[in-house]
Symmetry: C2
């Protein structure tokens, strides 16, 4: 019998759904632009928990995950829709209003117009479907499939924070009482890399890109598979969330950065000729060169203590 994960992968492939293809579908818009569009389903107790989070954070995250997909195409977000289904117990609270407050605050930050959606009833759990669309110059959407051998591999921000925050929450940390609020927000209300994504798209800088939702190892494997290439990662170059070093139950900081999901940073590849231009365009943003694209198809080599390890993807599985 197929594993659940394999079954899902087969379905996604068969019906051309996301995660096998790209972060967004790309559709012709007008003679100069394409529309990129993504949809994300978030379900209570799978993707978020009411006792760990706040309605405003859940609204923020619902839009953030979709904006992150738009950013990963190098596109400028333009409009969004959100549908929410709530059970009766939630209905009687201010959840829905506070959810929309968090959602619209993030939408306003990036000038995203909420154009529609719906509110309806569910028997038991809260269900959210978030849809976001962006614009990109025609034919210039950054896909996963165009990484070239010899390209440099970059990542934005620091990795592993969202996974560490999840561990803290699982261990009973309360946001309200926590001294680690900023860290917890990496999990509860992540920020999409909208500005960086747009710059990479507008300036034609990245050859391939993906957002880090499953984890560096899994998401880099997606790029390698789509581009029919391999990768070398230099372990000491991977930007690890500094808080990881403060928590003793995290024995292996690198594995947390490699395998922790939901950081919503951007992972992209770049022709070495454009390294100087990249550093200039993104001088106000944190980006780290962490490796290079190799010809060993679908093999990810980890250079660690001057030894080479073969990396097995272990990132977050949706199933």
């Amino acid at each position: 019998m197929l594993s659940e994960f394999q079954f899902l992968e087969n379905l996604r492939r068969k019906y051309n759904l996301k995660k096998t293809g790209d972060d967004c579908a790309v559709l012709p818009k007008d003679s100069r632009h394409d529309l990129v569009i993504t949809t994300d389903l978030l379900v209570e107790d799978i993707d978020f928990r009411l006792d760990w989070s706040k309605p405003e954070f859940i609204g923020h995250k619902a839009l953030a995950v979709s904006l992150s997909d738009v950013a990963a195409m190098g596109a400028k977000p333009v409009w969004s829709m959100v549908s929410i289904g709530v059970p009766e117990r939630v209905w009687k609270t201010d959840f829905v209003e506070r959810f929309y407050e968090g959602y619209t605050k993030l939408a306003e930050k990036y000038n995203v117009e909420l154009v529609g959606g719906d509110v309806s009833r569910t028997p038991d759990k809260i269900v959210i479907d978030s849809i976001a669309a962006g614009e990109v110059r025609r034919g210039k959407a950054i896909l996963r499939s165009d990484a070239k051998v010899g390209d440099l591999i970059f990542v934005t921000g620091n990795l592993g924070g969202a996974a560490l925050a999840l561990k803290l929450l699982e261990n009973g940390e309360s946001f309200e009482l926590s001294k680690q609020k900023k860290l917890l927000l990496r999990q509860l209300a992540p920020n999409p890399q909208t500005e960086i994504g747009q710059i990479l798209g507008e300036k034609n800088l990245a050859t391939a890109m993906i957002d880090l939702s499953d984890g560096l190892s899994s998401d880099l494997a997606h790029i390698c598979r789509a581009s029919k290439v391999g990768a070398k990662l230099f372990t000491d170059k991977i930007p690890v969330e500094s808080k990881i070093f403060d928590f003793t139950f995290e024995t292996d900081q690198i594995s947390s950065a490699l395998n922790g999901g939901e950081d919503f940073e951007l992972l992209f590849t770049l022709s070495p000729k454009k390294k100087f231009q990249l550093e200039k365009e993104l001088q106000n943003h944190q980006i780290s060169p962490i490796g290079e694209v190799s010809a060993n198809v679908e093999i990810i080599e980890l250079i660690f203590d001057e030894k080479i390890h073969i990396l097995e993807p272990e990132g977050f599985r949706h199933f």
Copy 2:
């Protein structure tokens, strides 16, 4: 305290969601076209039941409800996305594959391209988000807000069938064993009026339009509110589903046609000058003139046995 229905209406109004506005959001596409787009959330045991239906029917219906919204804008459907969340018990069955079979069969019928979506896990119930987009000539989307006093009111098909089918199912009728399969399909696998919607849009025939999801009385009230008009309905002109006369537990056939939801027929208004053109363009389709637009803002008068009744909307409430 606000009723649940009022609370939802307020939210939809505040955040510009569907059902207060139009069936779809309208967005500029290129110099000649607008994009119309809609999203519908369907939740197990609220919007469908596994013991009454079949996975193929649920897939069909998920797309049909969104295509019906596209048709109600006078638009041609172009692409769609569908996200589905399934709990573990469903996972182990062939539900998801059969769902996609039903979905893609309807998509192929109308040449709608499935461009994306996702599959994920839910704790308990099946959740579906269906998104469909269509194209219409720029500025020509048929809104709810442009009905004019003196316009004629038309409806496609027959009304009340979906509600009657729901009653049969609630009374234990099994689709597999039923002699009323065609009637039950009105509820389980309704057909969107895609062809008629497109003709009305292309030929500039309707002044206002909505699809009948809540029921004639409620949906006509939506048009009246948006257009700041009233309406007169001629009871004997309302095309009632003929099967309604066969079932004795249905004491009032007209109220079933007025208030039964989910027929997914189209309700539209038309300038009397265009009546001849309409009948010519739609000669191969069933359309019925059922009333006219009046100046009594938000009042719907029912002409019945030569007496006038004021109609209170009683259609299906989402809450």
